[in-house]
């Protein structure tokens, strides 16, 4: 297996594009259509079915592949997968508008070079129990890079991997870490950069297999989706299991293997798209929040959760910020004392909207935190 570029017709058939009955539910639910009126999944599909091509539509870079359209479609059209598969050929005509001066795309690419040996374990502190011979490996992902780039927004991003290890330790798991861990390649895959994804996936799989571990645990929903669902598409059987730390912690809280203190606060939970719609991990994070006080739901939650507004570090602008502020207002309207999410990227996006774009509008200010950090801070002592 490896990189095989499908034709437009093959992709359309694979993702059942011609099943479209033109009902428009996709466009109704699409966060991009809501905030920037010139993109419509229904119109893209209509254009394809009618004219047989996509005419290099720039709007296809606006899609955040959050999967809401696919979730709502009653005819089985997998629009977000279709978009992803036409992007490699679209790249040759138009490129996506990257954010943060391209820095994450560059990091991703440099990380895929065989002569580069990344070391992302700079966050390990002495109180964390790490076992170099463990059969469980913690895949860290890009959070250490986010810490460098977004420290002005929040200086606690490295607490996420630390909190995850503390919670795993509570469950009796002392994970090991990869000596040289590369980017998981999630963004490259969804942006149609299949060559970079292929290099990253193979290097990571080879490195993980060389450790001989039985399972890999990730706290980042994107790493989880990449390792669990995307890697097998390229290499077949991985030879190890992939589990979401968030789900494991949720189950442990439910079965009372991890005891959390009641914080006396009611929180609301934002579902990251890669965890909820893509991986169907919806209940587990809620168990964590219920275990430490209360949970109040926003109108758009679970499998129809609103997106955090930006994906893969492309196409962020005024309308994306407006979307994020709208989500913060929604969180605030529930009466919750804080918004909790399980994805480092959602966390960064909401923190950015709140700190840099909310202005004098205090109605949008709601504390945003990471579920692992919150749970780790509430572990009940002996």
């Amino acid at each position: 297996m490896g990189v095989v570029q499908a034709t437009l017709e093959e992709s359309a058939a694979k993702y059942k594009v011609s099943n479209c009955i033109d009902c428009g539910k996709c466009t109704w639910g699409c966060p991009v259509s809501r905030r920037a009126g010139d993109f419509s999944p229904r119109r893209v599909v209509e254009d394809y079915v009618g004219a047989g091509n996509l005419a290099g539509d720039r709007g296809l870079w606006e899609c955040m592949t959050c999967g809401m359209c696919t979730q709502l479609c009653t005819s089985g059209v997998e629009f977000h997968e279709f978009v992803r598969e036409v992007r490699p050929s679209l790249r040759r005509l138009i490129s996506p508008e990257t954010t943060h001066s391209d820095v994450f795309q560059i990091i991703q690419n440099v990380s895929s070079f065989s002569h580069v040996k990344p070391r992302t374990n700079n966050w390990v502190t002495v109180d964390l129990e790490i076992d170099p011979n463990s059969s469980t490996l913690l895949f860290v992902g890009c959070t250490p890079y986010f810490d460098v780039v977004f420290r002005h927004l929040r200086n606690d991003l490295l607490e996420i991997p630390r909190a995850t290890v503390r919670l795993l330790n509570q469950m009796g798991i002392r994970p090991r870490l990869l000596e040289h861990e590369r980017c998981c390649g999630h963004d490259a895959y969804w942006l149609g950069d299949v060559d970079t994804f292929d290099r990253l996936a193979k290097a990571n799989i080879e490195a993980i297999r060389a450790t001989g571990v039985d399972e890999v645990v990730t706290f980042c929903p994107e790493c989880y989706a990449a390792l669990k669902d995307l890697y097998p598409r390229f290499v077949g059987d991985l030879g190890f299991r992939v589990r979401s730390a968030t789900a494991m912690i949720g189950e442990a809280v439910k079965s009372r293997r991890i005891m959390l203190r009641d914080s006396g606060k009611t929180m609301t939970y934002h579902d990251p798209c890669r965890l909820s719609r893509h991986s169907n991990i919806i209940q587990e994070p809620r168990e964590i929040l219920k275990g430490m006080g209360g949970l109040v739901e926003m109108p758009r939650s679970g499998s129809i959760s609103a997106c955090c507004g930006v994906s893969c570090w492309v196409n962020c602008g005024a309308s994306a910020k407006e979307w994020q502020l709208d989500r913060l207002r929604e969180a605030r309207a529930t009466g919750a004392q804080g918004l909790v999410t399980a994805c480092p990227k959602c966390l960064v996006h909401f923190s950015c909207a709140m700190h840099e774009h909310s202005g004098q509008n205090q109605g949008e200010v709601v504390p945003v935190s990471d579920i692992h950090v919150l749970a780790s801070g509430s572990i009940r002592g002996e």
């Binding site: 001066s101 820095v103 002569h115």
Partner: protein, 138 residues
């Protein structure tokens, strides 16, 4: 074919680039391995621009600006210092030796200094070897 270091030098318009000019006018010899890019201020050099150089095959990157207190835009060089520090952190995460990145101050009257800084850095990169295959990066 023997390897020669490929080095990008970001020089600010007001000090370092003028310093390079002076080095040339004064006929100071300096290594031909650097590619000078003139920018209006060292503070304009985005971390992503520096990383992009390594991505595109540079073995080393220099950011040269005005001495502290001499910045044409008052504090651009202080901004450059912050940005270079964050690139050092990113290089550390990527496992690239941060000796491949240099931040130095060269004024418009320091042609000699420009030649010396450049030659020293080229010699350092020569010792570290090529980025793609040098044993020094881990």
């Amino acid at each position: 074919m023997s390897w020669k270091p490929k080095i990008v030098a970001f020089c600010c318009n007001w000090c370092a680039y003028a310093g390079a000019d002076l080095a040339g006018i004064s006929r100071r010899q300096y290594s031909p391995n650097i590619r000078i890019l003139r920018v209006m201020c060292s503070g304009r050099v985005d971390p992503a621009l520096i990383l992009k150089c390594y991505e595109q095959g540079a073995d080393g990157v220099m950011v040269l600006g005005c001495h502290p207190g001499d910045c044409h835009y008052l504090a651009g060089n202080e901004e450059a210092q912050k940005r270079v520090e964050s690139v050092r952190e990113l290089l550390g995460l990527l496992g690239i030796d941060d000796r491949r990145l240099l931040l130095e101050w060269v004024s418009a009257s320091e042609g000699d200094r420009f030649a010396r800084v450049t030659n020293d850095f080229v010699a350092r990169i020569g010792e570290l070897g090529p980025l793609g295959g040098g044993a020094s990066d881990s």
